[in-house]
Every structure is written in C-alpha cells, then in structure tokens.
Symmetry: C2
Subunit: 152 residues, 2 copies
DNA sequence: TTCTAAATAGGTAATATTCTTAACTAGGAA
DNA sequence: TTCCTAGTTAAGAATATTACCTATTTAGAA
C-alpha cells in the first residue's frame, strides 16, 4: 500500500509549490513532517509521525508536529479522517443518511439521498471485510464560513 | 432538524428491544442518555449529552455517559461521526479515494472507485455550503476482526 | 551577510477520555 | 414481596491528547 517513488515525489513537489505560493516558510521540520506522511501508505496519527520524524530530527517537538499537520490540513495538503479536530460526536439516526462536513468549523449537516444509499460496493473492498453501512461524506466550506471569508 | 415525536418513539422502542434481546440492563441512566441523543437533531459530543442529562439526573457522571455512548455504539444503536475512538489520523493522498473503516478495531483501508468519485451532489446540500470533495465511507467488520469473533 | 518576522523547542497547561474501587441497584429467585 | 448478586454506577484519580507560552533559532528578503 506504500505509494510509489514517483507518487511521493509528486506530493513533495505539490507541497513545496503550495508553500511557496502562500508565502509560508519552508522549514526543515515542515519538510520532514510532510514527507513522513506523504510516504506512508497508511493513516498515521500525530504521535506516529512524531516518533518517526524524531529518528532523523531528534529535537523536534510533538507540538510542532501537531501545528504542522493542522497547517497542512488547512492548506489542503493532507486531510484528516472523519470530522475536524475536537471531540467524538454521536448520532442516533439509524436510518441511512449522509453528511456534509465543513472543513473549517467542523459543522455537520445531514441529508438523504436514495442514490447514495444504494451504492454498489466494489469487489476490491470485500477483501478488506464485510460492509455493513455506506455513508457519503461531502466536505467543503459551509455557507456561514463562506460569508466570514468574503468579509476578510 | 429535530426528529419528529414518532421518530423519537421509534428509536426508543428499538433501544429497549435491543437492550432486552442482548440481556443488558435497562438502567435509568442508559434510558436518559439514549433518549437525549435520540431526540437531538444534531451530533452531540459526550460533554453535551452529559450537561443535558444532568439537568434531570443531577448525579450522573461523565464517565457513565462515555461508557454508555460507546456501549450504544457497539450495539449499533448510535454511530460516531468518522472513525472510532482514538486520535485524529492524517492522510496525504491528494487524489480522490475512499475508505473502508472497521467499526471494531478502527482499521482503515483505502480503495479507488471511478463511480464513487463522480457522484452527483444533491441539490439539498448546496444550501449547506460549497462541496469540495466527495468521499465514501464504508463501515463494517474487517476480516481480521471477523476471524477473532468467530473464534469466541 | 545582516536583519526581522515567523517558527521552533521544551516546559507547562488545558482538555478529553478512561480506569479504579467501593457502593449501589435492576431484575431474577425464593 | 424480600433477598441476592452480577452488573452498573459515582467520584476521584490517572492517562492521553492537544494547545499555549516564551526564549531562542532560522528562512528568506534586502
């Protein structure tokens, strides 16, 4: 599941380009941290990234890893699995439904779609396990955050 | 967005039935906690549930709320938004892809599907905000957890 | 090279979640 | 009903996770 050498290179290029374009400093730490996530096939958490990066940069701090990861997230260079930072949130709606998640404020809206409910699961997935539910997650800026942004 | 009275009643019935079937005790606390989540349109976190339930049961503890919510989750009566308990996880894969999430161990597997990439966003959602990405989340038991279960 | 705003390390603080244990109670048995 | 007890709870302590503070360092501009 590791990305190919070319894939990793491509991600690194996108990273440096995006950083330059937005005028954000390209520090050694940031490069190491992004590189670590980019070349990992899985979905590491901050602690894992920290441990791996520290092997090469013994002084890096966990706080820097967190700060950098969330910054990368804000810039769209990495994504988080599930909603944004914060607490676990629960949902008692047992009937099939789907979510729109605001990538900025974490607001979650429910919606229904017959089409989404009835998606056919790819063969590839059956090797991973038994699928019980299907849920579509749409991510983007909610209208409230849009208004805020346009004011600035 | 609040569920209708009938909808709440239906959820409560399902709750008591499932609890009885599994031989789990129907305590006052559990009923209040489930009821609180069931009648909330949104997606409350444990702290919110705790604050609301405490208004009626002044002695309930936060720990009980957590324990109960995770128990309800295990029984399939509520779901969590995003992956299971634990840390935030990051993903540097910028190209569109989708996830299979194990509801037991939290294992996440990636997969690709042209069909899923090109889903058409329902009109209803455009009122919530601007959709940037579409991601399908399939949930179920991964093969490893299946094997573990069948052993028991 | 020098300068300066931005970023970092390391310690500390704040949150979020879970564990421990003694006391309590729901629900079955008598 | 009353008694019994395994399962459940409250409360506080312990962990885990994430964010803040400040002196120091550094990337990138001039």
């Amino acid at each position: 599941m590791e990305p190919s050498r070319e894939e990793v290179q491509e991600r690194m290029d996108r990273f440096t380009q995006t950083m330059r374009d937005s005028g954000t400093r390209l520090t050694h730490q940031r490069m190491e941290i992004f590189c670590e996530v980019a070349r990992t096939g899985g979905h590491p958490d901050a602690e894992m990234v920290f441990r791996r990066v520290r092997k090469r940069m013994t002084t890096v701090s966990l706080d820097t890893v967190y700060r950098t990861l969330w910054m990368l997230n804000d810039m769209g260079l990495v994504t988080t699995l599930g909603p944004q930072r914060g607490r676990v949130r629960f949902d008692a709606n047992a009937s099939p439904h789907h979510h729109f998640v605001c990538t900025k404020c974490g607001m979650v809206g429910d919606f229904n779609s017959r089409e989404f409910d009835d998606l056919e699961v790819p063969e590839e997935v059956s090797r991973m396990g038994d699928v019980a539910t299907t849920q579509v997650q749409l991510r983007g800026l909610c209208s409230r955050c849009q208004k805020k942004e346009s004011k600035e």
